[in-house]
């Protein structure tokens, strides 16, 4: 059996309310919140980035896995906000975790899908028996242009998953990827904020790929939505994942535990991985969980997991997503938020 042996998340303590962003740009807060189903979002501290968030999430995953960091033979980090354009995030994270030098490292980028990509490759490395354990991380300090719809959602956080053959808490039943070239959202080299195609990001992008991957993996495994206890879909806003799930035949109760987007925002590469982590926080042995990510550009990775007895042994060994989301958040006004996110032009 190959699967997840440890998982962990990290969510920064800072928040900004959708109301404050709406008021900043002269928009009606109630309309915005109703339209996107977002209340607030997480904001990285001035001293947080994809690397520090990855370290914090990975430490939580190691606490649950109860393995020696040095046993991890591969480390992959998916993010669209790697701090360096050239120089890996993974090397810093690996040094901080104490898993160098015998480790294979790569940074991934695929818009919001890079996190499940890291999980996919980590799983494949274990399955190929190239390494004993491999870690896949999705982490982001997402950017949205000031005043753009994305500014209400682009948030910060991360989740890490250690794959292995022993001490498995959620076995991988199957994986499936669905990919096309679709220019729905992008950021050119050197550009500070991403651009997107507005309504073109919906049907031809998000829904086409999520539904394509979801339907295919169900069919391939001869499973129906009602066979699953939980389902997790990438969450660019509050509405899309619920709508996609319903179109696949899932009910609200199956999606609700992972539907953290109203408080967390869209954490890009960490969005569906963190929703999955929140679902593991409450899952019971025997539960089937469907995870479908989406990354603009565009593609979806789908996973089917089956939870094992061991989940009950490890769950309490690290902080849960819901607790991180609700534990004494520190709210920023728009001015401090703009400063935290480097949106103010400063002298050197």
């Amino acid at each position: 059996m190959i699967g997840i042996v440890g998982y962990g998340s990290y969510i920064p303590r800072y928040r900004i309310r959708a109301d404050d962003i709406a008021r900043q740009w002269g928009r009606d807060p109630e309309t915005v919140k109703r339209g996107l189903l977002l209340k607030e979002k997480t904001v990285p501290g001035l001293d947080e980035d994809t690397i520090t968030i990855s370290v914090a999430a990975a430490k939580n995953a190691l606490r649950r896995a109860e393995i020696e960091p040095g046993e991890i033979g591969a480390l992959y980090i998916g993010s669209e906000s790697h701090p360096y354009a050239v120089k890996p995030s993974g090397t810093v994270v690996a040094e901080a975790l104490g898993i160098t030098p015998e480790v294979h490292i790569a940074d991934f980028e695929f818009a919001c899908k890079a996190g499940t990509e890291a999980m996919y490759v980590a799983y494949a490395q274990v399955r190929a028996e190239l390494v004993k354990y491999a870690m896949g991380i999705g982490a982001d300090t997402s950017q949205g242009a000031p005043g753009d719809a994305l500014e209400f959602s682009a948030s910060a956080g991360g989740s890490a998953f250690i794959f292995g053959k022993e001490k498995v808490i959620a076995a991988v039943i199957d994986t499936y990827s669905y990919t096309t070239d679709t220019a729905d959202f992008w950021r050119r080299e050197g550009a500070f904020y991403p651009l997107h195609g507005g309504r073109f990001t919906g049907a031809p992008a998000y829904f086409k790929h999520i539904l394509g991957a979801g339907r295919a993996i169900l069919k391939k495994n001869n499973l129906k939505p009602e066979d699953f206890t939980y389902a997790v879909f990438h969450m660019p806003n509050g509405k899309f994942p619920m709508s996609a799930g319903k179109r696949l035949g899932f009910k609200r109760e199956q999606m609700e535990p992972g539907w953290i987007v109203p408080l967390m925002g869209n954490t890009y590469s960490a969005s569906s991985p963190t929703a999955f982590s929140a679902t593991l926080d409450i899952a019971k042995p025997g539960d089937l969980i469907l995870l479908v990510s989406f990354g603009s550009g565009a593609g979806s990775d789908a996973f089917i997991f089956k939870v094992t007895e061991r989940i009950n042994e490890v769950r309490e060994k690290a902080e849960k997503v819901k607790d991180m989301l609700t534990r004494s958040p520190i709210y920023l006004d728009y001015g401090r938020y703009a400063k935290f996110r480097g949106k103010i032009i400063m002298n050197e």
């Binding site: 303590r13 001035l46 001293d47 947080e48 690397i51 520090t52 360096y84 040094e95 901080a96 400063k339």
Partner: protein, 129 residues
């Protein structure tokens, strides 16, 4: 800080690696060649505890350029559970949340970037627990 020096400090900055005197058992952080307590020169590697308590603290309101964006920020001398003391920032809290004796945990954070194009420096900080 220049890149070679930064790279050299990684074991201490990222993982709190220290050395322990084989003669008197006292821990030195950073590692030293001579034990400041007994003068012995033989050590074994060790790692510092990642929890401790506040010995004394302040809030920095006038900072050197590289930390200017962080003001006001709190700095404390922390006594870790193994008795070693370190100076570090206490983050994700308000200055008035700090008190002598409060428990903290060491975390990994960004310190500062070297301008707009240089390396990004990381290291240990603390949060209240």
């Amino acid at each position: 800080m220049p890149t070679p020096g930064y790279t050299r400090e990684i074991p201490q900055r990222y993982r709190l690696e220290a050395n322990k005197c084989k003669n008197c058992g006292k821990i030195s952080f950073p590692p030293r060649l001579v034990c400041p307590y007994c003068g012995a020169r033989n050590f074994e590697p060790t790692k510092l505890s990642d929890t401790g308590k506040i010995v004394t603290f302040t809030t920095i309101r006038v900072a050197p350029g590289r930390y200017a964006a962080y003001v006001p920020y709190s700095i404390a001398i922390i006594e870790l559970n193994d008795g070693v003391k370190i100076t570090t920032q206490v983050v994700d809290c308000k200055p008035e949340d700090l008190e002598i004796g409060k428990a903290v945990r060491i975390i990994f954070r960004k310190m500062y970037p070297e301008g707009k194009t240089g390396i990004i420096c990381y290291g240990y900080k603390a949060v209240l627990i």
